[in-house]
């Protein structure tokens, strides 16, 4: 099964429900009129795209339909697809791992799937021939270290850990020294889930980034925010607040194998211009896929 198929498969439910609805809309309206735009807008809102972004997309669609004189339902479908893909396209869609070591810091609120994503990411990078080291800097949640350790064993990569309750920055410090001496290619840092509104915990995160910048000046640092696809508009607030702590270089959108549509990434792209780099489409080791906007839009809107 190729990458495209896997993503397509993972997005099947998303695609089916949206495509079904759009088909319904297009069947019931047949021609392009004002009511059609309203219904399409509703579909976007129901996909968590957010009111503002949905309105903007529909406005854009309206212009496109007018300018290109689109008169068929299929034409409208293609037009929406193009708009969505274009909005999600980004030059920085890959990981910048140009230095040795490079650092990937995984951050996010509680329960979005940071640890699982790290397991998958470590596996992905290792299978690309990289030497990977993982830092267990979630020293807060019960058994988080054990969970990560199981994942690193599965992925076949090394882990640096302290005991529960230890200073996360100390873990990262040790991991950096270890990464330097072992000459690993990529150091992936797990962090504790934290609500972005908890000031102290955000300060803790700042400290962690200070350590990285001090110990590895000039290193390529990817800061990836993990977002749960089921999250609604709060994801924008999460992205905004986390980006105040460190320049976000990308998003990982998890749990896309459910019925959640993850439309919120359109709003985040719109407001913060942060690209999605990976999507999580299942619980298996290889269920982390690079995010490709065209595929995403295609899978989202394509009819079966």
């Amino acid at each position: 099964m190729g990458v495209f198929d896997k993503l397509k498969n993972g997005l099947k439910k998303t695609r089916e429900s949206i495509a079904q609805k759009i088909d319904q809309v297009l069947v019931s309206f047949g021609k392009v009129d004002e009511e059609l735009f309203e219904e399409l807008e509703e579909i976007l809102i129901t996909a968590d795209v957010g009111v503002e972004t949905s309105v903007a997309i529909i406005d854009q669609l309206r212009d496109m339909v007018k300018k290109e004189k689109i008169t068929t339902a299929e034409g409208v479908r293609q037009a929406i697809k193009r708009i969505i893909a274009e909005r999600l396209s980004d030059e920085q869609s890959g990981l910048n791992l140009s230095t040795t070591p490079s650092v990937i810091v995984i951050i996010g609120v509680n329960g979005v799937g940071k640890t699982t994503s790290i397991g998958k990411l470590a596996y992905l990078l290792k299978s690309q021939g990289k030497q990977v080291l993982v830092a267990a800097a979630d020293t807060f949640r019960a058994a988080a270290i054990d969970q990560l350790e199981i994942w690193t064993k599965r992925a076949g990569v090394d882990i640096v850990k302290h005991s529960e309750g230890a200073d996360p920055s100390a873990v990262v410090f040790d991991a950096i020294q270890s990464a330097k001496s072992r000459k690993v290619d990529v150091l992936i840092c797990d962090t504790a889930g934290r609500l972005h509104t908890k000031k102290n915990l955000m300060e803790e995160l700042k400290k962690l980034f200070r350590i990285i910048n001090r110990e590895l000046p000039g290193a390529a640092v990817e800061t990836l925010l993990v977002l749960d696809a089921t999250t609604g508009q709060n994801a924008v607030s999460q992205a905004k607040t986390f980006s105040e702590v460190s320049q976000l270089t990308g998003l990982i959108l998890t749990k896309l194998d459910g019925t959640a549509k993850g439309g919120i990434i359109l709003s985040i792209k719109n407001e913060l211009n942060v690209p999605v780099k990976f999507v999580g489409v299942g619980e298996q080791m290889d269920d982390l896929q690079p995010f490709i906007p065209q595929d995403f839009a295609e899978a989202l809107m394509a009819a079966e």
């Binding site: 129901t46 969970q147 199981i150 529960e164 102290n200 999250t231 609604g232 749990k255 459910g258």
Partner: protein, 447 residues
């Protein structure tokens, strides 16, 4: 603060209307558009919003509002009432089986907070005098069993587990047998997170249900969930028949529209809300208070309840006496701060006060760390110094700063603060029945 955006929006909206003599149909339309947008931005499901707006519009366009002398208030009242109605008009309590042990089954998506909430629930029920047993039925997620064990040991509550090699149905059944023979009152079964569309795992839940016949099945839902909340809650309810909902992570800044959506789609009540990472941060869900909060009317009742729980009645009485006799010392100040600390993070307490909107809160630095620093400073003083701060000369201040790991500036700042409080007390002296003293009396004698 929960629902801050929504409450802000509605407040601004009402301000506009407040200035007018009467509401026209056009106003209502305009208003409903705003309410609709606010609710959608708050992640309330699209269909739920539509229904809500229809009900409100019907009531608002009616004569009730048009003839009202204060239309703004009327509309607030209608929106408020409908929000309460939508979320369930009375607080829902957790129920117990007449034949113990009472079995609760925790279900939900991955990452919604089932394990932490299981621990919180066990802790809460133990406070009520129950003897709870936690059961680790998540055999899939790496280290999930260990996580529950750690939570259990933190709370000193026993955890029943059979590792990860067993069928969760067997684990659940044996746990209940174990609970019966060991006379546990309450059994809380922590199940693995699963997608509602995962037929195989949903089947497993059905088998657990069939095997142990839980008294209540509680669906744990992340308060940040978006439009999908209706699909998740609806699907779990259709397949399992849930009895209640626990909303987690409400201590963030999510507007929590999921509260409205899940209730609307399942008809099942929200029984608890998770308000933090500590294992006692589980609170009952009060629809009326949540609605008040939505409308920016504060959550005074919750605050009072917190105060009642945390404040020691005898100590409060002593404090009041001391204030009357002007002997308010740094010791008392320390005492007061510790009492306040018991009520939870300062930001959480303050956010419940009426008139405290998000914008105002942003300006105040409510660092819990700073609170700890203050405590350290006072604790570094001798009893003599605490009773009579005027003897604090430069060298004493330096010693205190060293002892508390702060700076002399910090010490000075605190003393200045304390002086202000003393001044305030002096000013209040004699003014019998002043608002402030009434407030303190309220803490002492619960209303």
């Amino acid at each position: 603060m929960v629902f801050e955006g929504l409450s802000e929006k509605l407040q601004n909206l009402m301000k506009k209307i407040k200035g007018q003599a009467r509401i026209t149909e056009k106003d209502v339309k305009e208003m409903m558009r705003e309410v609709k947008l606010a609710l959608l931005e708050a992640d309330v499901n699209f269909k739920v919003v539509k229904e809500f707006i229809n009900t409100i519009s019907e009531r608002a366009v009616g004569s009730e509002v048009l003839e009202s002398l204060t239309p703004g208030q009327q509309v607030v009242k209608i929106v408020h009432e409908e929000l309460i109605r939508l979320m369930g008009s009375t607080p829902a309590k957790i129920t117990f089986s007449p034949a113990p042990p009472t079995v609760y089954m925790m279900v939900g998506l991955q990452g919604s907070g089932k394990t932490t909430t299981s621990g919180k629930l066990a802790n809460l029920l133990r406070k009520d005098g129950k003897k709870p047993l936690l059961v680790a039925c998540d055999v899939y997620r790496p280290a999930a069993v260990k996580q529950l064990q750690v939570v259990g040991s933190q709370l000193n509550i026993p955890v029943f587990e059979m590792g990860t090699g067993q069928d969760p149905v067997d684990i659940a059944r044996k746990a209940v047998e174990h609970a019966k023979s060991m006379q546990f009152d309450v059994v809380i079964i922590d199940t693995a997170g699963r997608l509602h569309v995962d037929a195989e795992l949903m089947e497993e839940l059905k088998r657990i249900k069939q095997s142990v016949k839980p008294h209540e099945i509680l669906l744990v839902v992340d308060a940040m969930t978006g439009q999908d909340a209706v699909n998740v809650a609806g699907s779990f309810n259709d397949q399992l028949g849930i009895d209640g909902i626990i909303l987690t992570k409400l201590d963030g800044d999510t507007r929590g529209g999921a509260a409205l959506s899940t209730k609307a789609v399942t008809g099942k009540p929200i029984k608890f809300v998770g308000m933090g990472e500590k294992l006692n941060d589980l609170e009952p869900f009060y629809p009326d208070r949540m609605a008040s909060r939505i409308l920016g009317m504060g959550d005074v009742l919750s605050l009072i309840e917190k105060a009642q729980e945390a404040f020691d009645e005898k100590k409060a009485l002593e404090l009041e006496k001391k204030m009357r006799s002007q002997q308010f010392t740094l010791d008392d100040f320390l005492e007061q701060m510790q009492q306040l600390k018991k009520m939870g993070p300062l930001s959480q307490v303050l956010s419940m006060l009426p008139g405290m909107d998000a914008k105002a809160l942003k300006g105040i630095d409510m660092d819990d760390k700073q609170m700890a620093r203050t405590l350290a400073i006072i604790q570094s003083m001798t009893p003599q110094e605490r009773a009579n701060p005027s003897i604090l000369n430069a060298s004493r201040r330096q010693r205190i700063a060293r002892g508390s790991g702060t700076s002399v500036t910090d010490v000075n700042r605190l003393l200045k603060q304390f002086e202000e409080v003393q001044k305030m007390i002096k000013a209040l002296q004699g003014k019998k029945g002043s608002r402030w003293m009434k407030g303190l009396g309220g803490f002492r004698r619960p209303f």
